[in-house]
C-alpha cells in the first residue's frame, strides 16, 4: 500500500513539474469554456430546460467539463501512450518482473496525475467561469464532497478503459489506432460536446448506459444535485459497476498478454 501511495505521489509531482504547460492548459480550458458557454446560452435561450437543465445548470455543466477535461482524460492523453511505448519496445518485460502489480502500479500513477490535473487545471477555469457567468454552484459542502467521490470513480473508469486500450498493443504492436478510437469514443460519449441528457431517444439511452458517461455526465449530475438520496447511491453504483467490470477485463487481458511476452535477446 505504501508503495502505491509513493507511486501516486510521484505521478502528482511529475505533472506538477511542468508549470508552463499547466498554465497553457488553464488558458486553453478557459478559452473553450467561454466558447462553450456562449453556444449553450444560445441553445438554452431557444429551448429552456433542455435535458432537464435550466440555463445556469447548463453553463455549470460546460465549466465542469473543462474542469474535468484533463483529470478524467476526456480527450485521452494520460499514461496510455507511455505504456504502449513500453509494450512496443519490450521494456514491459522489466515491469513484469517488478515486485508490484502492473495494473495497480499504473492505476496509482494515474490517480496521482488526475489529482494534480484536477487541482492544477480545474480550479482556476471553474473560478473564472463562476465570475463571468451565472453558475448553479452548490451552497453547502455536501454536494462538493459527493462530487469528489463521483470524480474519483470517474477517474478509475477512465483509467480502466485506457488500460484496456494500452494492453491491445500486445496484439496490435502499434496502439496508436486503438488509442485514437478510444479517444474519439470518450470525446463524444462522455458528454463533452453536448450533455448526454440532450441526446434524443434510444441513442441517448444507449449513450447514457455506456461507461464513458461515468467520466463526465454522472459527476456533473451529482454536482448539480440531480442524484439525491438513493439516486446518488445508484449513480455511484453505476460508476463502480463499470469500474469493477473494466478493471476485471483489464486483469484478464493482462494475464493473457503476459503469457505472450517473449523477451528478445540482444
Amino acid at each position: 500500500m505504501r508503495l502505491y501511495a509513493a507511486v501516486a505521489a510521484g505521478g502528482f509531482r511529475r505533472y506538477a513539474t511542468y508549470r508552463l504547460a499547466t498554465m497553457a492548459g488553464i488558458f486553453t480550458n478557459t478559452v473553450f469554456g467561454f466558447i462553450g458557454s456562449y453556444t449553450y446560452i444560445a441553445l438554452w435561450d431557444e429551448r429552456p430546460h433542455l435535458g432537464g437543465y435550466d440555463q445556469p445548470q447548463a453553463l455549470t455543466y460546460v465549466w465542469i467539463g473543462q474542469t474535468l477535461l484533463a483529470a478524467c482524460a476526456l480527450l485521452g492523453a494520460g499514461f496510455e501512450d507511455e505504456l504502449i511505448e513500453r509494450i512496443k519496445t519490450g521494456d514491459i518485460a522489466i515491469d513484469l518482473y517488478r515486485p508490484a502489480d502492473l495494473q495497480l502500479w499504473w492505476l496509482a500513477a494515474d490517480l496521482g496525475r488526475a489529482t494534480f490535473q484536477l487541482i492544477g487545471r480545474g480550479i482556476i477555469p471553474m473560478a473564472v467561469g463562476a465570475l463571468a457567468f451565472d453558475l448553479a454552484l452548490p451552497g453547502s459542502a455536501w454536494p462538493w464532497l459527493a462530487f469528489l467521490v463521483a470524480v474519483t470513480l470517474g477517474v478509475v473508469v477512465s483509467f480502466a478503459i485506457r488500460y484496456l486500450v494500452a494492453l491491445s498493443a500486445f496484439w496490435l504492436m502499434d496502439g496508436a489506432g486503438a488509442a485514437q478510437m478510444a479517444w474519439l469514443a470518450s470525446a463524444f460519449f462522455s458528454g463533452m460536446l453536448l450533455p448526454l441528457n440532450v441526446f434524443p431517444g434510444v441513442f441517448g439511452e444507449i449513450a447514457r448506459a455506456l461507461p464513458w458517461s461515468a467520466l463526465l455526465q454522472v459527476p456533473a449530475d451529482v454536482f448539480l444535485g440531480k442524484h439525491a438520496g438513493w439516486g446518488l447511491l445508484q449513480a455511484y453504483a453505476f460508476q463502480a459497476g463499470w469500474a469493477v467490470a473494466l478493471l476485471g477485463a483489464g486483469r484478464a487481458l493482462q494475464a493473457a498478454a503476459t503469457k505472450r511476452v517473449v523477451v528478445q535477446g540482444g
Binding site: Y18, L20, A21, A24, G25, F27, T28, V31, F32, F34, I35, Y38, T39, I41, A42, L43, E46, R47, L50, D174, A176, G177, Q180, M181, W183, L184, A187, F188, L193, L194, V198, F199, P200
Partner: protein, 258 residues
C-alpha cells in the same frame, strides 16, 4: 521533397494510414454531429438555420484543415527547441520554416479538409443563398484567405515557442479554439468577444465577415459591408507579420548546447 518523403513513409503502412485518416475525419465530424443533435431540439441557433451554420462550419473547417495540412507540424517546434534537434534543421541548405512545416507531414490530415468540404457541400444544397457572381467568386477566395490567416497563426505561434519553449497548448486555443468559435454565428457571442476576434486576432475575416455577406446577414457589430472583401488583404498582412515574428524568433534561438 521532405513532404514527399513523409508521404512515402506513411504510405508504407497503408492500413494504419487509412485508419488514422478516417479517425481524423470522424474526430472532426463529431463536432458537426453535436450541432445536428442540437438541431434535433431547435430550429435556429442565434437566429441562424442549420444550413447557415453548416455554411459557417464548412468554410472555417476547410480553411483550418488546409492550414493544418500545411502548417500543423509547427506544434512540434517547441519540442525541437527543448531537445536541441532544431540544430539539425539549421545546418541543412533549405529554409527552416519549410523544413519545420514538412516535419512529419501528415497526409492523414486530409480527413479534416474532406469533412469541412462535405459539410460545406451540404450547406450549399440546404442553405437558402441568393447567389450572385460576386458571391460565387467570394467562396474560393474566402477559403484560401482563411487558410492563409490560420497558417500565419500557426507560424506566429511557432515563433512564440522560441521564447516559451512549451506552449503548444496556448497555440491550440487560438487555432482550434478559433475554429470552434467560427463554427457558430457571431450573433450568439458577447459583442466584446466578437470585437476581439475581428480587430485583435483577425479571425473574423476567415469566415464571419465574408459569410455574413454571402448569407445576407447583419453584422452584430454593425460593420460596413466592404469589410467582407478584405480577407485576401488581411491574409497577406497576417502572413507578413507572421514571417517577421518567425525571423525574430529564429534569430533569438540559442541551442540547448547538449
Amino acid at each position: 521533397m521532405i513532404v514527399a518523403m513523409w508521404v512515402r513513409s506513411t504510405m508504407t503502412y497503408r492500413a494504419s494510414f487509412a485508419l488514422t485518416a478516417f479517425g481524423n475525419f470522424v474526430a472532426t465530424a463529431f463536432d458537426f454531429v453535436a450541432i445536428l443533435l442540437m438541431f434535433s431540439h431547435i430550429d435556429a441557433l442565434g437566429g441562424y438555420t442549420l444550413g447557415e451554420i453548416a455554411f459557417l462550419y464548412g468554410t472555417t473547417s476547410t480553411s483550418f484543415g488546409l492550414a493544418d495540412l500545411a502548417m500543423g507540424s509547427m506544434n512540434r517546434l517547441g519540442r525541437r527547441v527543448r531537445d536541441g534537434t532544431l540544430d539539425t534543421l539549421l545546418v541543412r541548405p533549405a529554409p527552416v520554416l519549410a523544413q519545420v512545416a514538412a516535419d512529419r507531414f501528415g497526409l492523414r490530415r486530409l480527413g479534416r479538409v474532406t469533412q469541412g468540404l462535405l459539410v460545406l457541400g451540404y450547406a450549399l444544397v440546404v442553405a437558402d443563398i441568393d447567389w450572385t457572381p460576386l458571391k460565387v467568386l467570394m467562396l474560393p477566395v474566402m477559403l484560401l484567405s482563411g487558410a492563409g490567416i490560420y497558417a500565419s497563426l500557426y507560424v506566429a505561434g511557432a515563433a512564440f515557442q522560441f521564447v516559451a519553449q512549451d506552449a503548444s497548448e496556448v497555440q491550440n486555443s487560438f487555432t482550434y479554439g478559433g475554429n470552434t468559435l467560427l463554427q457558430y454565428p457571431p450573433s450568439i457571442f458577447a459583442q466584446d468577444l466578437v470585437r476581439g476576434v475581428t480587430f485583435v486576432l483577425p479571425l473574423a475575416f476567415v469566415n464571419w465577415l465574408p459569410a455574413l455577406y454571402v448569407l445576407d446577414r447583419e453584422d452584430p457589430l454593425g460593420l460596413p459591408d466592404w469589410l467582407a472583401f478584405l480577407p485576401p488583404v488581411v491574409a497577406v498582412v497576417c502572413c507578413g507579420l507572421a514571417a517577421l515574428a518567425w525571423r525574430a524568433g529564429l534569430r533569438s534561438y540559442r541551442s540547448t548546447g547538449s
